[in-house]
Symmetry: C2
């Protein structure tokens, strides 16, 4: 394993040697990705591994209850991943700090409230409170593109790591990239980012960054509602206040 393959390997292929861990996690991811429970054969195709290997590895994961085996032979995510996930430090701290604030925001607006953290090219939802009106499936563990969503922009605007922003905006054509930079400037000035139906048509979202004690962004709080009933201008101060409040509570603890 290991990042550098000391001997140059010719030919395309995947190469770069795959460790056992990669295989196990590929299986877990494949299971996660599929909405319902998954058959071994399906996993084999999705992960590009021999069926026999998947069978063996999956059996190991089942033994450890990272997967559960259903009566029909398919597998789903097991209890153990839940136990682990529920203990992940950063999400927990953010969530406990955010919970009461999210609720206040929800009571004040009735719209969908969510908290997000950044990962790669996406934002990962930690928790969401459903709004009263039309619902896109928003739930914990869900991902949304960082570049286009309000929460993503709120995060990126304050992201200290320039390389992250550069890498993401590299996918844009030059003038879109400069427009994007400009937008981030505005976000920095106002502490709120907005998305008016770009990421999800008909839905307006407003988001504000959340900072940890050392003043680095760790996520964003967002408010989203139908374009016709929600007013971004009106919501902005509320969301900004929520972001600030979460940051304060996070530092306090």
């Amino acid at each position: 394993m290991y990042r550098l393959d000391t001997y140059g390997m010719r030919s395309a292929q995947t190469a770069a040697t795959i460790s056992v861990l990669d295989r196990y996690l590929a299986i877990l991811d494949a299971v996660k990705e599929s909405e319902r429970s998954t058959s071994i054969t399906e996993l084999a195709t999705r992960t590009n591994m021999p069926k026999s290997t998947v069978s063996r590895l999956a059996a190991g994961l089942v033994d450890q209850r990272f997967l559960v085996r259903n009566a029909d032979g398919t597998v789903g995510l097991g209890l153990r991943v839940f136990e682990l996930g529920a203990r992940a430090g950063l999400p927990r701290r953010l969530m406990t700090a955010a919970a009461p604030v999210m609720r206040e925001l929800w009571e004040a607006t009735g719209d969908r409230v969510g908290i997000w953290v950044h990962h790669g090219a996406e934002m990962v939802s930690l928790a969401a409170v459903a709004g009263r009106l039309p619902m896109l499936p928003t739930r914990a563990g869900m991902r949304s593109p960082a570049l286009t969503t309000a929460s993503g922009k709120a995060f990126l605007a304050f992201c200290a790591d320039r390389t992250v922003v550069d890498r993401l905006s590299a996918e844009l054509v030059p003038d879109a990239a400069s427009g994007f930079r400009h937008e981030l400037d505005l976000v920095r000035a106002s502490n709120v980012a907005t998305d008016a139906g770009v990421a999800y048509p008909g839905i307006v979202a407003v988001a504000s960054p959340v900072f940890s004690a050392d003043r680095t962004v760790i996520g964003a709080v967002s408010l989203a509602g139908p374009a016709d009933s929600m007013n971004a201008q009106h919501a902005a101060p509320l969301v900004r206040a929520a972001g600030l409040s979460m940051s304060r509570r996070l530092s306090a603890a």
Copy 2:
């Protein structure tokens, strides 16, 4: 690897060959178990592995963001375990079915409400409400002994798999075991189990089973409060109703 060691291995030791997966998961568990973030050396002692091995394996887990590396070199659980955990099927379905009911129960009583599923000799908490936000686990992933807690007894009383009950009650001295069986009979008759300070001193808990569509128990809902301010007799009907309501919602979806 594999369960049966075909050749008898003499001497004590651990033996029984340990697979890579076991090692990885031992590390994850060790990290989970410790409240705060953990050093590599500490993990090495806790898991009984050479430091060098732990370092390498942990690095792999960090690469995959199953662990996060803090500035001081310690590690904690990463975002990825959270993402996985948030998608585990059974907990999710139970939680979404349970959330509104838990909230009602909380509003009616003000006491601590939790839902639990069974695993081995313990009950695992899926979610606990102290605040008003549904779906925000206060202390999810926590474990309690199945034998002594209200939720454990509520589950065991209806557990179709006799071997589970037998195996657990095997640890009791004979007359305690028969007393336990008798108590389970009462639970079956009333649909509620009670624990008055045995598992946790000064705390009274009442629990009721939750059934899936096929009428098998999958967990329990519990209500817990301080012994002096909570009345088990009074709470019982509410908890029983909550259990029924959850079961109904679970079958409906």
